[in-house]
Symmetry: C2
Subunit: 417 residues, 2 copies
Amino acid sequence: MINATIITIGDELLIGQVADTNSAWMAQQLNAAGIHLRRRVAVGDVWNEITNVLNQEKLNADIILMTGGLGPTSDDITKQVLCEYFDAKLIVHEPTLNQIKNLFEVILKRPLIERNLKQAEVPDNCKVLFNKRGSAPGMWFEENGKIFVSMPGVPHEMKGIMEDLIPALSAHFKFPYISHRTLLTIGVGESFLAEKISSFESALPFYIKLAYLPNFGQVRLRLSASGEDKINVDRELDIFFTELQDKVKEFMVTNVDESMEEVTGKILLKNNKSVCTAESCTGGYIAHLITSRAGSSSYFEGSVVAYSYAAKESLLQVNKNDLLEHGAVSETIVKQMAKGALQNIKADYAIAVSGIMGPGGGLPQKPVGTVWIAVGNNKNIRSQKFNLRFDRQRNIQITAVTALNMLREFILEEENA
Amino acid sequence: MINATIITIGDELLIGQVADTNSAWMAQQLNAAGIHLRRRVAVGDVWNEITNVLNQEKLNADIILMTGGLGPTSDDITKQVLCEYFDAKLIVHEPTLNQIKNLFEVILKRPLIERNLKQAEVPDNCKVLFNKRGSAPGMWFEENGKIFVSMPGVPHEMKGIMEDLIPALSAHFKFPYISHRTLLTIGVGESFLAEKISSFESALPFYIKLAYLPNFGQVRLRLSASGEDKINVDRELDIFFTELQDKVKEFMVTNVDESMEEVTGKILLKNNKSVCTAESCTGGYIAHLITSRAGSSSYFEGSVVAYSYAAKESLLQVNKNDLLEHGAVSETIVKQMAKGALQNIKADYAIAVSGIMGPGGGLPQKPVGTVWIAVGNNKNIRSQKFNLRFDRQRNIQITAVTALNMLREFILEEENA
């Protein structure tokens, strides 16, 4: 099996000022290509730390992918470290030099200075992986059959280089085939699921692995297998995956690896229907989730985020007396919000939410975490109350996912009626 | 100096199905407490991998914090590994047992099964760190003066345990003092900034470190120093920080470590003013950023997310003929959106955005990345065009941050007029 390590380099990762989103994305790419990621390590912009982790990781990994520390400023030292580590001297890489000149003079229209030009220099014994989206090139080194690759830490630049890197690695190594099947459940706990499928799990052959991936009211179940024979691996996996789906069908939202907003978006697209949202406590997050998907304009019309009473009245025609009588977090109001959205935005379906996300704003009869969700269309609106027990960010996220699932169920039941 | 390592455990981290947000948060907490985080390592749910990384990291770290692998399902093995590693046997922890019973029977109202009860078992030589938000307790081990702590990977459970852990670590060790000063610039590149402050940077004493933290049109500059004498460290740091602020003042948004939405929110709060948004291409993301902050209801009234022409007309009274003549992504329309929002939502200020975020939807005269932003109030609306060159997610993020900054500048200029 080909083993890989990801090394992310940067002081900012160690004081937590920047969340590392690169590693997860890179891990996905490696996994899809059949490369086993064994470890991810983050170290600071410190000479010894970088050489130490390289020495350590090359003992167990065939591929070492590095990101970060290639910027133009003096805290970035990765290129200098690699130059010494691989006993190289720096030379100018002409295509990168032209790229940098073009980037600054034509696109950014910013003054081009010496330290930007320095970014066109590369160790003379590396293969350059051209950075089509920025100024710091990727670098490919070989030592005793191991591959070392250094890439910039800027996510979209790294991704551009990875697009070319994966095929190059595939050509260099002969990877075993790895395959996964993933399904998503909602509204049921990890341990309850585990109990439900315990006999299935214990009967799995050793070369098929089951993982539980919980995430705010959702649990992903993933079956994985690897082997030399692609057809056999996939056929076996499909047999067990069919059995697994049957065991959890009452909680299953989708049997492909996709998000709740993708599932709901696809149903809307297939039915040629559209949705709108009326959001209070989620503050536009449901609309953001839906519109994060390219192509969502085919099924998303718009939203009203009504935080204040005044906005609820003017944008959604919520009744002032009902607001005063029942409060904004109530069944009466969330249903009026859904109706108002349908009327004003003219989508086929509406999602409406009103709740108390915390940390402040709780009341004795409506503590933090109280949420009303309504979904429906012009014929019928359904509502439900939830009591969440997380922090503000998680309460917003779980409310959004729950609301999208309620809409999914509403549409499916309507189809089956 | 006290060194720490964070070890995150879970197969899901190595195939990229879950982004690791725990590490960044934990890093922040350690940093604030004056603990130097030397490394972060992610490994799979594999017995040897866990023991290997423990053996490796304890050579260089005084504190080893682990998260993950404590769930009730069979892929979670961290507790068993630690039991063997520290030569312990499992015993029932009564307070945790009661917590689990209460969680399932009273709060979740889900059946309590054997594998949940197993979570109340802990190695007999660890100190239990009670998990007030879930069923898997934290565990504190000591070996040769080193501290090993294992916590669940569920973020809000880990955070609850960390709240008690940091004071316990502070009591156990005597930490040197570490201090940071951070400022945020917007609209200027990392290398241009570096050039502007190069003489400042090269004159810094060895014990003060400067870091550049770029993030989509924003660059954070951070000065760090550590030492035994808190007063001296802070006094020296303040002198250099004052000089740094002066050097970059024309690009500086704030001189504390806060986000663009916090900066704008604070100005609104101070002036007792409110804002609303009219969003097309950002799909509610600006509203989401604003409402992510607790207390935002004091200065945020609401938003209209108008994706379709129809929603722009009905919710923002955008003129149909102008839409047809100029297109939705135009100065005329974005100004009308701002006006419509001010009129309907009745906030003091409005932010309006319309653009093409990609990957589809580009036109020859309006390529992907074309964005119009308008900010203003009932007296005056200002607009500006931008040409972004990132992917969909980044284009949405940079548009939101740029719009919030335009509003900040608008308010400050109004104050100074």
